[in-house]
Every structure is written in structure tokens, then in C-alpha cells.
């Protein structure tokens, strides 16, 4: 008996080791499959649903994995090394593409490229089309109009930075009377959330510098508009719901919660916030205004652009590549796909087949543009690296907490740019 057991055990061991090596080449390879490594955690649920719907319709398996915040690059790096690598991933623009261009399938002539509203939304590397933008977004300062009116102001009163500052200062001074905790919701600098300032707000000094110099990329930023950057950031942290020292542990979630609870009047964020804010507010109570920067306030619109480009992994099998191309094209052309992208994810997609989005902020962007204002383009796709952003973010956090000087922000911004650009080159 014992002998039988022991033989069984050793046999089981041997089998389990072999089984591990052999048993996984399964069926369904022929039809191809899609593995999408998603960048946007806020859209994770909607993607999972859309993927399931696609599988139900076509039988093609689609798995969607969303990387934890700030870990997209880490996850992509470790997943690309696997044999079952993502077939669909994303880069944030030319800088991101530089790292991954060897892994991008040339999309020239594919259906999805044919459906783009403009060639400008194709991300090119030489002659090859390496990626396509799949969402256009806007950000600015979201305003609680009801509270603003309670304080005795109208949206039209905010015509530029100076007006914004005096109104915010006034609200801050009367915060108890108005029943708010501050003019601006807290500028959460937790590592999961500091992108609102180290990336989005930092776009403005870069935009104006590029504009003044007539360029669209540089290896050495001069930081000519950093004083304006400081003025806006100072406004955020002084007319705020909480003290600077607390900011490092605050998240964008805390910030949104304050805004949603009507504890703050202003909240810097983007059109992607619409779906969650519209649960609390009606469209009449919300508005998005440009982040006035004190440079060219009269003509400045919202910041509109994209940092989300889809790339198809050229290392995937031919079937998988085909399945992936079919999937993304389905997402932007089919009824189900476009509805999900417009309503569930709140995306405006740059494709001819897109449905109109109910997103208020997106509509406002169109209104600003129609009124002759110039949208601020997204130049953070030209920021030299994640490292650079993190450097600026840390310096900003320290500055807000009072443990660091503004000079350190300037140095992280200007010197950090040069050294990171040198490393990339």
C-alpha cells in the first residue's frame, strides 16, 4: 500500500511538472485573440463591459488589464516580456513612442486609420503610422456655478487670471459665511494624483514658451513662463480647502469629493470627470473655464488634445494582430462601441463614425473654439520622460508643504529637462 502511494506521489510530481510545460497550448489560437493593456483606470469598468460585449458578438476573446496608477510603464515593460504579451497597448505621444517604436505594427492602410477625422491624429514614426489617437480630451478649471452665484459672481466675471484670483481670494476670505471650506478643492499631491499639476498644469508654461519661440519640441526648456506657473499654483494652494503640509497625502479623489460635496468652488481637472460629477450636479450647475495663465487670457481656450495613442504589438501572431485591428475598428465604428465610448467612458473620439458625446465639458470646448478662442494644445507629450514629471511633482509637493523652495521646482523643471533629454538622446 505504502509503496503504491509513494509511486503515485512521485508520478504525480513528474506529471505536474510536465503538465506545466505542455498543457497550455490550447485551442482557439486560429481565430486570434486580443489582450489590451489599458492606461485609463477610470475607464476600466467600461472597457471590461465592452470587451465582453465584443466577445459575445464575435466569439473573439478579449482580455483587458488596467495597470495601477503610475505603473503603466512598469506593467507594460513586464508584460511585453511575456510570450502572451499585450496585442494592444498605448503610448502617450512622440516621447513614449521613441521607447516602443520597435514594437509597433505599421497601421498604414488599416481600416481604423481610414476612419480618422484628421491625419493629425495619427502618430507617425518616419513613414510608418505607429499609433492612432483614440480620445480627445479637454481640461481646465471646473466651476460650481451655484456656489459662484451664491458668492455674488457670475461666470462671465472671470475674464482672466487677475479676475480669477480676486474672486478666489474673496471667496476664501468669506468661506465660513458661504459654507465652503475653500475656493479651490485641495491640490492633492499624492503620487497617484500629482499628474494634475506636474503634467497638466505644467503644460501651460511649456505651451506658451513653444508658442513664443515658434517651436513644437525642445531639448532645453528655458522656463520663461514659470512665474505664471507659480502664480497659478500659489493660488491653488493658498485659496484651498486644506493646508499645504497635508497635500502630499491627498488624492484627486479627495479633491473631487470636496468639490462634489460643495465644499469648494473650483476644481482643476478634465472632461473625463464629467461622468462622475454629473451624478451629483446638473449641467446647469457646472462649467469648465480655461486655466487662465496671465499671458494671453483673452484668447485662451481650454487645454485640448490627446496623450492616448493605440499601438498594436508587431510581435504578436498574425491572427492576433488581425483580431486586434478588427477589435479597435469595431470599437470606433460599431453602434455598441461608439455608444460605450461616448456615454460610458465619456470620450470624444476622433473618428468619422463617432457619436455625439453628452459630455458638457466637451461641448464647452467647442463653444470656446467657436467663440474664437484658441485651444491650448497638449505639449506634455513632449516632456522628456516620466522621471522629469516625477521630479517636478516632488519639488512641487515639497514647495506646497513649505519644506522646499520654489527654486527647486525651477531647477527640476529646467535642469531636469536638460538632463533627461540628454539621457533620452
Amino acid at each position: 500500500m505504502k509503496k503504491a502511494i509513494s509511486v503515485l506521489v512521485s508520478a504525480a510530481m513528474a506529471v505536474s511538472m510536465l503538465a506545466g510545460t505542455a498543457a497550455t497550448v490550447s485551442a482557439d489560437e486560429a481565430a486570434g485573440k486580443v489582450y489590451y493593456l489599458n492606461f485609463k483606470p477610470e475607464a476600466d469598468e467600461a472597457w471590461q463591459k465592452l470587451a465582453a460585449a465584443y466577445t459575445e458578438e464575435t466569439g473573439v476573446p478579449v482580455s483587458v488589464v488596467t495597470a495601477a496608477s503610475g505603473e503603466y510603464e512598469t506593467t507594460l515593460m513586464s508584460e511585453m516580456g511575456k510570450s502572451d504579451a499585450p496585442t494592444l497597448f498605448q503610448v502617450n505621444g512622440p516621447v513614449g513612442l521613441a521607447n516602443w517604436k520597435d514594437y509597433c505594427y505599421d497601421l498604414t492602410g488599416s481600416d481604423i486609420v481610414g476612419n480618422l477625422t484628421s491625419d493629425a491624429f495619427a502618430l507617425k514614426d518616419g513613414d510608418m503610422i505607429a499609433g492612432v489617437a483614440y480620445v480627445i480630451e479637454s481640461y481646465g478649471i471646473i466651476v460650481n456655478k451655484a456656489l459662484l452665484e451664491k458668492a455674488g459672481y457670475k461666470l462671465e466675471d472671470i475674464t482672466g487670471f487677475d479676475a480669477l484670483k480676486s474672486i478666489a481670494d474673496d471667496i476664501q476670505a468669506r468661506k465660513d459665511e458661504l459654507g465652503v471650506e475653500g475656493a479651490f478643492s485641495c491640490a492633492g499631491m499624492d503620487a497617484s494624483s500629482d499628474w494634475r499639476f506636474k503634467t497638466h498644469l505644467a503644460n501651460l508654461p511649456i505651451y506658451y514658451e513653444y508658442k513664443a519661440d515658434g517651436i513644437d519640441n525642445t531639448d532645453a526648456i528655458k522656463g520663461d513662463f514659470l512665474d505664471n506657473y507659480k502664480a497659478v499654483f500659489d493660488l491653488y494652494i493658498t485659496d484651498s480647502t486644506c493646508e499645504g503640509a497635508e497635500l502630499s497625502a491627498k488624492t484627486a479623489d479627495d479633491s473631487r469629493a470636496e468639490f462634489a460635496d460643495s465644499k469648494a468652488v473650483f476644481y482643476q481637472n478634465g472632461s473625463w470627470e464629467y461622468s462622475s460629477l454629473s451624478e451629483t450636479f446638473s449641467d446647469d450647475d457646472l462649467a469648465m473655464i480655461p486655466i487662465y495663465f496671465g499671458v494671453d487670457d483673452e484668447n485662451q481656450g481650454l487645454c485640448t488634445g490627446t496623450e492616448n495613442y493605440w499601438c498594436v504589438n508587431n510581435g504578436a501572431s498574425e491572427e492576433d494582430i488581425k483580431a486586434t485591428l478588427d477589435f479597435i475598428n469595431w470599437c470606433v465604428t460599431s453602434e455598441t462601441g461608439t455608444t460605450a465610448m461616448a456615454n460610458d467612458m465619456g470620450f470624444v473620439i476622433p473618428f468619422t463614425t463617432a457619436q455625439e458625446s453628452p459630455n458638457l465639458f466637451v461641448k464647452q470646448d467647442a463653444e470656446y473654439t467657436a467663440a474664437g478662442k484658441t485651444p491650448v494644445s497638449w505639449n506634455f507629450t513632449t516632456m522628456p520622460s516620466e522621471e522629469w514629471k516625477n521630479g517636478v511633482g516632488s519639488a512641487l509637493t515639497a514647495y506646497a508643504a513649505g519644506t522646499g523652495e520654489w527654486d527647486e521646482v525651477v531647477s527640476a523643471f529646467v535642469d531636469g529637462w536638460a538632463s533627461e533629454a540628454a539621457l533620452a538622446g
Binding site: 512521485s10 510530481m13 513528474a14 511538472m17 505603473e71 510603464e73 512598469t74 515593460m77 513586464s78 511585453m80 516580456g81 504579451a85 513614449g96 521607447n99 520597435d102 514594437y103 499631491m189 499624492d190 503620487a191 503640509a245 497635508e246 502630499s248 497625502a249 510581435g315 520622460s385 516620466e386 522621471e387 516625477n390 521630479g391 516632488s394 519639488a395 509637493t397 515639497a398 508643504a401 519644506t403 539621457l423 533620452a424
Partner: protein
């Protein structure tokens, strides 16, 4: 006779472990050394570049910073942990009430994993720092460093305490009695008899705490994540960060080279430890 008989049974006794060992350690190790001389992002595109990865380690000043921080951390944490653990063990081997309860509680944190520990202490320490009006963990490398020391002490004092208690219990009672009869006071018995008698425990604990400090990763990742600006990054996290978080084709090779250097450092510590232990044993 036994040896000869079981030798034939190697496919059952030795092969499973040896095969898994090759898959899980030996092959990855050898391959890792090779890759430290290459530039690569995934293994399908590897170019041999010789020693240039090693040369670039020196250019990356985050490595030397992480190295010295780790040295300081390992030494400081092992001194604190060992002293505390020894004192607690000394007290708990006296016949005070509730020894067992105390022992149970001190040991408990050991069973909790590093990631979870990090988040527990992040919540707690940030709360304390906030009420003291101090910069939070993510802002101040000094606070982050001490946070890690506190965390590791909380986790490991219990473990080392158990080893010291075992050591102290093995000191023969008649030896101490004899000393007391000879008129030695309690300090003298402590320094002349107890401490020399438990030297093996001391070396083991020093070795364990030093290597634990050197290799610490999970706690570092979850407590501070290296913030601010990688200033609280220890070696293991620095390597992981170089390897996976930095984008650019050059970084993986550099990360692998850093890992080889890290490995060599740990080997040196282990060898030094081994020598120390054997020389002590000869003396006894």
C-alpha cells in the same frame, strides 16, 4: 549500503528538486549574468554591449545614493533591532508575570507581509507626522528613512527576541549560580557569562538583520515608494525601479548590471559572516 541502494532512485529523490532548481534558480541566474552585458527590452531583441552597462551604473547617481542609504539602513536597523530584542529577551527570561503573552504579542508582526506592513505604517506614521506638524513620509526622506527603521524594528524585534530567549535558556543554570556564589553581581554575570555564552545567537541575529536590511524591498515599496525623488530608495527598490519603471532601451541592461553588483555585495557580506562565525567557533 543505504547510499548505494538509494543512489539508483535518483529520478524520484533528486530529480524533481534538481529540475525545479534549474528552472527556478540556476538557469535564470546564469542568464541574468549574461544579460547584464547586453542591451535589451524584451528577450527577443538582445544586443551584446560588453561592460558598458557596468560603466553606466556609476553615471547614475541614484545607485550610489541608494547604496549608501542601504548600508546605513542595514547597520542602524540591525543595531536597534538586536539591542532591543536582547533587552526584551533578558527581561522575559526572568520570572515576571505574563511572559508568554508578551512573547506572543512581540512576535506577531513577523507574520505579516511586507506590502501590508508598509500600508499599515504609512497610515499610522502619516497620522502622527500630521499631528506633529511634520512633513509627511512622501515629502521627507529623513522621515521616510526613520519610518522604515521603525517598521522593520516592529516587524523583526520579536523574531530576534525568540532566538535570544532560546540562547539565554541554554545558558546552564549552575554556571550562573556558581558565579553568584563567587560573589558576581548581576552586571558581571550578564557581561562575563550570559553574553559570551550566547555569542552564536548574536552572530545569527546580526547576520539575519543585516541581510534583511540589505534586501528589503516590499516594505520600501509600500511605505515610501522611494519618495521624495528616490531619496528613500534602498538598493533592491532602486534596481527594480531602474529595470521596470524607467523607459528607454538602455535601462534594463543597467538594471541587470546593478543586480549583479548587488548580488556581489551580498555575497561579500555572507562570506565575511561565515568567516566570523567559524573563527568564533574555533575559540569556543
Amino acid at each position: 549500503m543505504v547510499g548505494k541502494t538509494i543512489k539508483k532512485y535518483w529520478p524520484i529523490f533528486l530529480l524533481p528538486t534538481a529540475a525545479a532548481f534549474c528552472i527556478g534558480f540556476l538557469w535564470p541566474f546564469v542568464w541574468g549574468i549574461y544579460l547584464s552585458f547586453c542591451q535589451f527590452t524584451t528577450v527577443s531583441k538582445v544586443t551584446f554591449v560588453g561592460f558598458s552597462n557596468y560603466a553606466k551604473i556609476m553615471l547614475d547617481n541614484t545607485f550610489s545614493h541608494a547604496f549608501w542609504l542601504t548600508v546605513l539602513f542595514a547597520i542602524l536597523s540591525s543595531v536597534i533591532i538586536n539591542v532591543m530584542a536582547f533587552l526584551i529577551a533578558l527581561a522575559l527570561t526572568k520570572k515576571i508575570k505574563g511572559t508568554n503573552v508578551f512573547r506572543t504579542i512581540f512576535f506577531m508582526p513577523n507574520l505579516i507581509g511586507g506590502i501590508v506592513l508598509g500600508y499599515i505604517w504609512q497610515t499610522l506614521l502619516n497620522g502622527i507626522l500630521m499631528s506633529l506638524g511634520q512633513p509627511l513620509l512622501a515629502l521627507s526622506a529623513t522621515n521616510g528613512f526613520w519610518g522604515m527603521i521603525i517598521l522593520l524594528s516592529w516587524q523583526q524585534i520579536g523574531y530576534m527576541m525568540i532566538i535570544y530567549i532560546a540562547g539565554l535558556n541554554n545558558v546552564p543554570g549552575d554556571l550562573i549560580e556558581a558565579a553568584q556564589v563567587d560573589g558576581a553581581n548581576s552586571w558581571q554575570t550578564l557581561f562575563r557569562i550570559k553574553i559570551p555564552m550566547i555569542m552564536p545567537s548574536v552572530t545569527i541575529c546580526t547576520f539575519l538583520t543585516l541581510t534583511n536590511g540589505f534586501k528589503m524591498f516590499d516594505q520600501n515599496l509600500s511605505l515610501t515608494g522611494g519618495d521624495p525623488q528616490k531619496a528613500s530608495q534602498l538598493l533592491a527598490l532602486n534596481i527594480y525601479d531602474t529595470f521596470y519603471a524607467r523607459s528607454g532601451p538602455q535601462w534594463k541592461g543597467i538594471g541587470q548590471a546593478k543586480a549583479v553588483v548587488f548580488f556581489l555585495i551580498v555575497v561579500v557580506i555572507a562570506l565575511a559572516q561565515l568567516r566570523l562565525t567559524t573563527s568564533k567557533e574555533v575559540q569556543q
